[in-house]
Amino acid sequence: MNSMIHVEDLTKEFKSYSSRSGLKGAFRDLLTRNYKIHRAVDSISLDVKPGEMIGYIGENGAGKSTTIKMLTGILTPTSGDVLINGMNPHKEREKFVKTIGVVFGQRSQLWWDIAVQESFRLLKKVYNVSDEDYNSHMAMVIEALDIAPLLDKPVRKLSLGQRMRCELAAALIHNPPLLFLDEPTIGLDVLVKLKIREFLKELNKQYNTTVMLTTHDLSDIEALCERVVMLDEGKIIYDGSLSQLKTSWGEGKQIQFHFKTPKTRDELIRSTGQQLVVWEPGENENTWTANVTNDEDIISQVIGEVVANHQILDLKILETSTEEIIRNIYEEGIIHG
């Protein structure tokens, strides 16, 4: 078995005490405390192959960050096994972290007061990277992220987008085979997001870097990850390809017609039949929406029949967005298909 990340029955529990209300409660708290055990991550198992880019998604508090922190050796698991790159993250921490890169979107790796290149130099020393490795590898990173003009500026003078690109470069100084990104695009504008995505793709292609990404921005995942792992209340509720998620959960497509003259439901059903389509009225009598299953033949058949019988001004095909799919999954809380 040759996997980059191998996780089995990983569990993390946090013990917290709930305080009673009122002054009397406060005194009782002094004597006996009510402890509550909260399972942030509940026996998850996961295998990631080298070179995979996987998206790790879930609502706030679902346990994403806790998992990432256990995988990076920051937190010690309550139980379960983690084997990454053949190492146990919290047992051989110092040796292990040399083989991973970590970017926390909300926390800086760089030194605030010194120029970016000085930060890089310190990190190069910390990771004990040779000059040749550094020069050949970082030249590509600096070029691809377009940060050469920023290198001599102190970090505190950079904008968020500039800083984030530098953070990413800093996490890659030792060219790790595995990269963890915890909300790397939070608060960034579209252009910077695109640049970072392009860069990650390039990195994955060139060095076969394994990337594990958590984000709330599903367009990141659509652009980068073939595989999605979805977490809810500490449990994995979906682990598979993004396209499969879409076909099994995306509830068909919608075709929106804008007709020249007002139509009634009966008129439309007469032309398309009732088996394939469910018609829904739009904002006025001229617009109607046809809900169809996600099948190319059916879609073109329906469009053909409508266009043959009615004059239309405009037509739009809408796909259920990933965001909608995910919202559906969380609302219904079950997996089908």
């Binding site: 050796g73 937190l75 972290v97 010194i114 020393k125």
Partner: protein, 261 residues
């Protein structure tokens, strides 16, 4: 030797940043000097009322104070961990530390060092030479060597106590006022322990061994033969307490809960 070269890199960066904020550095050195002067004046005021404190003269006590300043300067240069709880645990900065391939405590030390505090070594030596010449002390060839050994031992005692206190944060991240209190207790070690009662003396020797940062080693140079045994114990206590604190730290890190989600 990788640790040494990393240390040198950090010092280089530190100096670079400090040179851009030169006025800060001057203010810091001045406030340190003022603090030391106030302590010295306190000793002089006490001796305005009496000539001997449990058989110790004014110059002897000043000498002890001067000695104390040297290990204390080393401690405050490298072990600025009094705000460890707030800075690293509550704000979660330890996350970052733990994703780097160097021992976590060593990184905290590197990030928090304040080289200006080394100036205390100079004042300490000056105070010692002043008091020493008043007392007519002579320097033997082995004195400088033992001095260095005792200073290192004393600094390690201090470091050991404060690191152990900082590790409490791994178990409970609520704020405590134990750090400033400990700084005050640390000052007790600057005076001869035989002026205190038995219990305090015992505590300062074996539980919070601050006496090994001031009186005990200084007594050696004052030729107080009855204290020699304690003086020689200084490096041993330093290594013991420091190792204990590292041990506690290493356990504590596995209990780290992280901040936020």
């Amino acid at each position: 030797m990788n640790h040494l070269s990393i240390f040198v890199q950090y010092v280089g960066q530190y100096i670079k940043t400090r040179l851009t904020y030169r006025s800060d550095m001057v203010v810091e050195i001045m406030s340190d000097l003022l603090f030391q002067a106030v302590n010295l004046i306190f000793i002089l005021v006490v001796f305005g009322h009496t000539n001997l404190l449990s058989g110790w003269s004014k110059d002897e006590i000043i000498f002890i104070y001067g000695f104390f300043l040297v290990p204390f300067a080393l401690f405050s240069t490298f072990f600025n961990i009094w705000d460890f709880n707030e800075r690293y645990i509550v704000k979660g900065e330890l996350d970052r530390i733990l994703t780097r391939p160097i021992h976590s405590l060593f990184q905290v030390i590197l990030e928090r060092m304040e080289l200006e505090s080394m100036f205390g070594v100079v004042t300490g030596l000056a105070v010692m030479f002043y008091a020493g010449s008043n007392l007519g002390l002579t320097i033997s060839w082995y004195d400088p060597l033992l001095f260095i050994l005792f200073v290192l031992g004393g600094a390690l005692v201090y470091a050991g106590i404060f690191i152990s206190l900082a590790t409490i944060s791994f178990w409970s991240d609520s704020r405590t006022d134990i750090m400033p209190m400990m700084y005050n207790i640390g000052n007790f070690g600057r005076y001869p322990v035989d002026i205190y009662n038995q219990i305090i003396r015992y505590v300062l020797t074996w539980i919070l061994p601050f006496a090994f940062v001031g009186v005990y080693p200084a007594a050696f140079f004052l030729d107080k033969t009855e204290w020699y045994g304690y003086a020689y114990l200084t490096p041993v206590m330093g290594i013991f307490f420091f190792s204990l604190s590292i041990f506690l730290w290493n356990i504590g890190v596995t209990k780290y809960r992280g901040a936020g989600s």
